[in-house]
Structure formats: structure tokens, C-alpha cells
């Protein structure tokens, strides 16, 4: 099994920045998982393994600045591969936001999701080319923008109001 079960972004202070679940978890379970894992991951010292064994799974994590990127995989899966996927994701974020920082992800949480969705689908790596991801995300942004512009044009608002 190569599937990633979920992706978590947790700040050093334990604040959740992004959660994406590829296996079914109820809201309650989700909160529990987050609580448990942030407790475990944030307390790990430097220069240790980049994963923890947890409930029969492996949670691979890597810290970039103040953010911990965590992905949960099956016990027998390739940890190094997941570390590379995490790094891949960070690089794409970096390219998209221009040296990404935690604030970027806080205020653009939906964009972080869309980028992740380009990268991973159904818990599998989808796109290994950074450039392709960047291009596709940009194209979708443009699509959203034009739609927004239409919506917020004065004439549109007036048309709405006087409907």
C-alpha cells in the first residue's frame, strides 16, 4: 500500500494549518488524531528519525521553519518516498507564494488545499513536475479571478440588487 491516509500541517505552537483526509475519519476521530499527533510530533527532538510509529501506522513528518508537515502511511511503506513528497509539496508552495511562510498558508488555506490536490489524489502522488503544478494552479487562479471580477463588477451588483 502506498496510500497516504492523511496530511496534517501543524505549527510549532500546535496550531493546525491544514488537514486533509484520504481515509475516512469522523470529525471526532480527526480531532483526536490531531491532538494525539501534535503531542507526539512537536515533542520530538532534532536529529531524530523523521517519523513516529503510531497506532500501527507511520507518521512521517518534517519541519520547515515553524511548520511541521505530517503524512500518515502504512507501517511497511517507504518513509523516504514520503519525505520526498513532503519536500516536493513545500517546494511547490514556495514557488507559488514566493518563499512561503506560515502566514501565507494561514490566509490562503484554500490555495494550499488546491495545490495539495494537484499533487496528491486519493492519497497518491499525481504530479511530479513542479512546473506543471505551478502552471495548472495559475490557470485555475485565473479562472477564479475572472469569475470574481464578473461578480463584483458594479453593473452586476446593481443587476443583483434590482432583480
Amino acid at each position: 500500500m502506498t496510500m497516504i491516509h492523511f496530511v496534517l500541517l501543524i505549527s510549532r505552537q500546535g496550531k493546525v494549518r491544514l488537514t486533509k483526509w484520504y481515509s475516512p475519519y469522523s470529525q471526532k476521530e480527526r480531532s483526536k488524531v490531531i491532538r494525539e499527533l501534535s503531542g507526539i510530533v512537536l515533542n520530538r527532538g532534532p536529529r531524530l528519525c523523521n517519523f513516529v510509529e503510531w497506532r500501527g501506522y507511520k507518521v512521517v513528518y518534517k519541519r520547515y521553519a515553524s511548520l511541521y508537515f505530517c503524512m500518515c502511511i502504512d507501517q511497511e511503506d517507504n518513509v523516504l518516498e514520503i519525505l520526498e513528497i513532503i519536500h516536493h509539496y513545500v517546494e511547490i508552495l514556495d514557488r507559488y507564494f514566493g518563499s512561503v511562510c506560515e502566514l501565507d498558508l494561514i490566509f490562503n488555506f484554500h490555495k494550499a488545499y488546491f495545490i495539495l490536490d494537484e499533487l496528491l489524489l486519493a492519497g497518491e502522488l499525481q504530479e511530479s513536475s513542479k512546473r506543471t503544478v505551478a502552471r495548472i494552479v495559475a490557470a485555475q487562479d485565473a479562472l477564479v479571478e475572472t469569475a470574481k471580477e464578473q461578480a463584483s463588477s458594479i453593473s452586476n451588483i446593481i443587476a443583483q440588487a434590482t432583480k
Binding site: Y22, F114, D117
Partner: protein, 973 residues
Amino acid sequence: MATTASSFMDSLFQRTLDDLIKGLRHNLIGEQLFISKSLEDIRKEIKSTDLQTKSIALEKLTYLSSIHGIDMSWAAFHAVEIMSSSRFSHKKIGYLAASLSFNESTEVLLLITNQLRKDLSSTNEFEVNLALECLSVIATIDLARDLTPELFTLLSSSKVYVRKKAIAVIFKVFEKYQDSVGVCFKRLVENLEGSDGKSMSAAVGVFCELAAKDPRAYLPLAPEFYRILVDCRNNWVLIKVLKIFASLAPLEPRLAKRIVEPICELMRKTGAKSLLFECIRTVVTSLGEYESAVRLAVSKTREFLSDDDSNLKYLGLQALTIMGPKHLWAILENKEVVIKSLSDTDSNVKLAALRLVMTMVSEDNVIEICRVLLNYSLKSDPEFCNEILSSILFTCSRNFYEIIVDFDWYVSLLGEMSRIPNCQKGEEIESQLIDICLRVEDARPELVRVGRDLVIDPALLGNPFLHGILSAAAWVSGEYVEFAKSPFELLEALLQPRTNLLPSSVRSVYIQSSFKVLVFCLHSYLLNNEAHIPSSSPEKLASGVPDTVLGDGFLEASVITAPKSIVESEHDADFSPGASNHGVSVENDGEDVIHGQTSLSVPLEKDYFTRESIIKLLDMSEMALGPLLESHEVEIQERSRNVIGLIELIKQEITGPLVKKETDDMRDEFKALNMIRLICDGFSEELGPVPVTAQERVPVPEGLTLVENLCDLDTIFADMNLLTQSSLILGTLNLGETTGGSLSDLQTKDDLEPATESTSLLSEHRKRHGLYYLPSEKSNSLYNAYPPANDSLLQQNENDHVDDLVKLTEQSLVPKKKPSHAKPRPVVVKLDEGDVPITSRKLESEENLLSGAVRDALLGNEDKSTSAKVPCGKSSSKRIEKGKQSVDVPSESNDNAADKGKADVGKGSSRRSKGRGKERKHKSGVKGGTQREGNGQRENLKSSRTSKHKTHHGAVDSVNVIPQTPVIPDFLL
């Protein structure tokens, strides 16, 4: 007009997502309060008719849900509304909300089928993307079924972006709805073969998942995977292909031979550690026979081990662990690193090293390794210390202590473990102590010694983790007190004041054990005394004991032989070689009496049990237990009441007026002796071994109606004294029927069984089928027959609260066996069945269904496939004709050369419940046939499907079955 105006106002003054996030960050009024205020706003805004306002509200809600865990299931319908907006920006928000919050039980899922269908067919690839992403998360059976045609189309879309995503989603759809395999599999394979790297990569990903579940079905695709392995330069893809091969190679040796070289080549060339590790793992898991490859893998592993990176070190150890059993040299070469890793700073590395060490354990080195590990555990942090302990416990107890030869050593190791300050494995040690005690007769003396050391140490009583162990130790030393060097000391330990630190359940075990010890002491004392008294009238003695309670061995012996043998005879029940002992003790004088009793233990000194010491003992017990009569714990109170009762009784007998005629004194002591002997009988009787499955195998005798619910027994027993009484009842019942040391014994004893109707029926049955009652052939030991069914029910009901007896029955094993001193390793009693945890019977799972479907699709596909690379003439000639429904294919067609499984086929026709698509399979009685049957069925479904592509709703009536095994084209092999 008014409403639109208000919605207009809403949208003007609505907080945006940014506002929400800023507000949360500034956090002026506290996070929770702010969130609940925002939720109020959102609830209002989301009802707006203006989609813009609505979508912003939903976006905010999505944010709160995914970051702050706020429930948003109530907004599901709004999400659906926004999903259906024609505006991409809205749609995106709607889909994001859906894929983050919907699950299979979300009710509105029924409403989105059409929306998904529309978006999947959209010309805008990004809209298709949204729908695919959403489907990958929420695919249900219904959605999977209804959207299969759209996915089928997308699988050959000209847009790579859409196509590769559709491929990834198809795995989810396969999982939910197996029939889609028949429709889509061919196109999936085409993508694997196609020239486009991205689609191929996605397809490999899907096959990697599929092959992990049931590799066999994908063997026919091996040539494709091989081509990718050789040609592909993308590490991500290579890793996945390697994973596929790791599961395929063990199935087909010729395939393994083929891939060894390319993998070694990769190992030498690649700079990517992730790929390198995958190569190593593939080699060590699946290509272990190829020495050169293994050597290369080991040398690469060594690089990992010597790396500073903990990850690599861990993975290196992991690789060695996999190699371990087969290539011990690899571990020995790296022994130093491994041992050093046990004290690594990283707990993962330590654990990996520990696992590795444990795989090396064998009969020869277990003592040494355990010694080393135990030393490490003393130095380690509590967590790792317990990891070490539990892996020692696990490894040593595996398969009935397979690797333990010297049980005395192991038992004292258990004692040592208990004393490790951080030890939290009390429960496991407890159960092993009891388990060994029951299974390994030869270990009992040592167990009693270890138990005594544990019980006697007042310091241990304060550690709650050890209470379980202490309870086991107390039980062992009470049950087998005859092995104890000093029963006095033991009794003192069991009654020491600090026992008030124990939980009541353990304390009651203590009291019960002290009861046994006390009885033992009294018994020994009285026997000892009696031995010095010239036997006056044996008849009187024998008749003094009620017949009903007596074991028949007792009865016979007392009638036939000299008075002294009475003492001996009762032990016949315990020790099968009693006969030989018997002779000896008759000839020798009194001294041997006690020796006969204790059999293996050190002979107790004759004058050990003096009147004074016994009286002291009684006083001490009385003093210790007296206060407990007031205890609020029923168990404790009742048990101490029993002991005190006995003491009072005995005291009267033993300590009469000081001046007394000797004969009177003697008579009193005879009385006491008889009394004590009765109790002793109760204790010395061992329970018969009852395998878990035994009860089921007892046929219900005719005319006996079994009550389903036995709760009315509760009321009957509710006010009975549950304690000693039950143990006595148990003892006597057993005594009556099953004290046999041999089968012939058993037969004679059956005659004496209590003659209630059902038991006599049972005994008859047992007589006839005595041999089959308990599977004792293998373990070469003899068991007591178990008590009649109704007795055991009684027993169970009564014993509910008698924990040490429950322990016995729970273990359902009794080591009644011939001592085997000749053998180097003591006999470990096992029951053939019932004892062993029932090996998980693998149910035919969804996955199997899925891979069955895949197999069929694959074979069918290859048949038709345009791919010229796969010549499979052999199988194609035996193919069912496509497109025909309700064909009856004779099952002889499985004479296919590659068909290995001799499957029973064609036995059942299968039906499909229409529309729903859930497969309903006839469970034909033939094992192993079922799966193939399923395959065949699906094959037919598939064939009907491919003939008229999208008409997968059509029901297939009755079809017959054909088995197929994958065929690998010969050119590859």
C-alpha cells in the same frame, strides 16, 4: 424586493474569510467565543439567495471545520447548492467543502450524482478535476456505479491532465463497485502501455495498490511492468513498480530471475535513497535466493547503517530484520552497529534494533540474548525498558515456549523481570507464570521458589504494576506448596501486614493461598504424628471418611493395603507413577510418607511440624485474618471466614486440655486428620483440561433439552456460599469421576460417576468414544476427561467469583502427564485444538472479490487486447465467448495448462440483484471453489459488459463459471 435588498446588504457587510482569519488571530474576545459568533453569522449568511454571499459563508465554515474542527455536516446541502453554481469560483468552494466534510453517510450524496456527472463531462478540465477530486474522497457504491460510464470515457480523454486523474480515481471506484472493473480495466491497461508518462505513472500507482491486495491477478501484466522497470527514469514510478514486483516475484520464480539484474543495476546507479531502499527491500523480501543481489543489498544496507541520518539507520536495521532468518551472516557482519543501536538516542532506531535482535533469538542463544537485553532494560528509559520486556516475553512464549529449554532459567528470568523498577508488564508475566505452572510440571519447584521470593518481599507490595504478578506468585506457591522449602515462612509472607496494600481481588488470592498452605502444614503435621503412632484400627480410619467424598483410588487402596498406604493412596490421583511410590512407602516406615507426598521436593524434616509450631501457625493466621472478617469486600471476608472457621475447628482438636490421655489425644488427631485430608483432597485434585472446542463436540443426549439462557441459575446460586464450597464441590465431583492417570483407569472410574441421567448418558458415550474425547495423542500426555456438561456449567456459574479456580479453567489446560526426566526439555502441555488461537479463517473479502474481478477482466482483456506484446494463445482458446448471456459453459474447459488450482466450478449459478450491483454469491459448499466461482461469474458479467459497453445495469441471469489462472507469456520467462 425586501429580501433581495437584505441579501444585498448582507453581501456588502459580510465578513470575508480574511476578516475571519484576522479576527481569530487577534483574538480579542477569546477564540471559542469568536468562533461561535462567526458561526452565528455564517448560519445566517449561508441561507442567502445570493450565491456570492453564500459561498463566502461556506468558505469560512470550511475553514473553521478543517482548522478548528467545527462540525459542518449541517451545511451539506448548501455545499451541494454551491457546487452546482455555474461560476467556477463558487464551484471550487463548494467542492472543497464537500471533499473535506462529506463522507459515505452524508445524506445529500444522493443529490449530487447528477452534478458530478455533469461536471465529469464538462469541457472545462478544471471542473472535471474538481468532480474527480470529490469523487475520490466520497465514492460510494452508488456513485461508483452511476458514474462508471463517465470515468470510462475520461480514461481515454485526450487531455492528459484529466486522464491521469481519472486513472487515480478509478481505484476508488473499483474498490466500491467491482463491476466497474469489467468496464474500465482494459482502458486502464491501455494507459499502462501507452506512451504518455503521466498516465502510465498514474496507472502504475493504481496497480501498485491493487497488487498489494492480491498480486496473483496481475501476473499477466508482468511484461508491462518489466518494460517500465527497465525503461522508466522516473524514481516515483520506479518505486511503485518495485513494490509491484516485490509482491509478484514470490509467485513466479521465473519472473524473479528476470528482474534480479535490472534491480541490481538500479541499486548500483541510483542516487536517490528512497529508490535505493525500495530496491533493497525488494531484494530482501522477494529475491532472497539470489546471493549476488543479496550481497549487493547488504553492502548498501551497511552504508545506511553507518550513515548519521537516523532515518537511514532505521531503514538499514529494518532491512536486516527482513533478511534475518535467512541470511544470518548479514546480521553478524553488522552485529556491532546493531548492538550499539540499542542505546541510540532515537526510540525508533532502538525499537528497530530490538526487533532485529529478537529475530535472531534461537534455542541456543536465548539465554545469552535475554541477559544482554535485560541489562539494557535496566539502563533504558521506562518506555523502552518495557518494550524490551514485552519483546522478551513475547518471543520466549511464542508457540508454547518453543525456544525455551531450561524452564528453571526462564522462570527465574520472569522473577527477575518483575523486580525491574520500570516493569509494567505485570499482566503478561502473571499469565505466563500461571501458564507455565500449568503446562510444565517440571518447572513447578522453581516456580514455587520464584513465587516465594516475590511474595516474601514486602517492598513489592507497594507497586501496583506488580500486583498481577504477586497474585500469580501467591497462587503458585499455594497450589504447589508441597515444593516449598518452608511453608511456615510462606504462610507468614502471605499474611504479612503489608498485604493490605493489595487490591481485593489479589488479596483474596492471597487468603486462599494461605488457606492451602495452612491445610498443607496441618496435613503434614498430622500425618507425621500418625506415622509414629502404632496403627490401631485401619478399618475405623477408613470408615471415618465418608465414601461419597472419597476418591475410588483411596477407597480401593485403603481396603486392600496396610493403613499407612492410606496416606499414600490419595496421592495416586496426583501422581500417575503412584503405584511404584506406593510399594516403596509401604515397606519403608513413616519417614517416607511425607516424602511420597512431596515427590519431587526436598524432604521435610520429620520434626519440622511440631505441635508448638503448628499452634503458633494457627495463632498467627487467626491474628492476621481476624480483622478481615469485618472487611467490606465479600471475597476477602468470606475467604477469611473459611480459614478462621477451619482454624477454630482444628484448634479444638489439637489443643485440648493439656493433660489428657494419650489415646484420646490420638483419636482427636485422627478426627482432625480426616477433616484435613478431606480438604486436602479438595485442593490436590487437579482440574481436567478442557479444550475450547470440547463442549461443542459433546452431542446433546436424547431427551435432554438445553436451555439457551442460564440466567435463572443465578438466582439459585445467588445466596450460596461461593467460595470454598465451590472448590470442594469441584474437587469432589472430579474426584468421583476423573482421577485417572491412564485411560484404563478412566474406564473403571467412570463406573463410579454420579448417576444423574445426563451424566450417565455422557459417561456411556465417553466409554464408547473415550479416545476421541480429548486429543491427547500429540502432546503425549494424558488428561482427565472433562466433567459432564452440566457440571461444567454449574462450575462456570459458581466459579464466577472464585478467581484462582477461574484461572485454572480459563487456561483450560492441565498438565497431567508422565514425568519425562529422560528428555532434555520438559514437556510442555498443549492441547491439539482449542488451545491454539483459532487461526484466522480468511473470509473472502471485498478485495478478493475485487481482484477476482480484475483477474477476469485482465484475462478477458488480454484475449481481446490489441496489445501485440502479450501473446496468450493458450488461454485465449479456452475463453468464453464474449457478449453471450446465459451461456452454459461446460466446466471441463479448465484443462488450461496454466491452471493450477483444481477448482470446483460450475456448481452454482450466480445471480445478480439487479440495479444495485451488489454481488450476491451462492455459497457453494466447496471451499476454494467459491472464489473462482466468483471470478467466473464476473467474467461473464464482464463479457456482457464489453459487448455493450455502458449497459452495465443490465442483469445477467444465470451464467456458468469458468476458472482461469493468469498466464505469463513465455517470452518473458
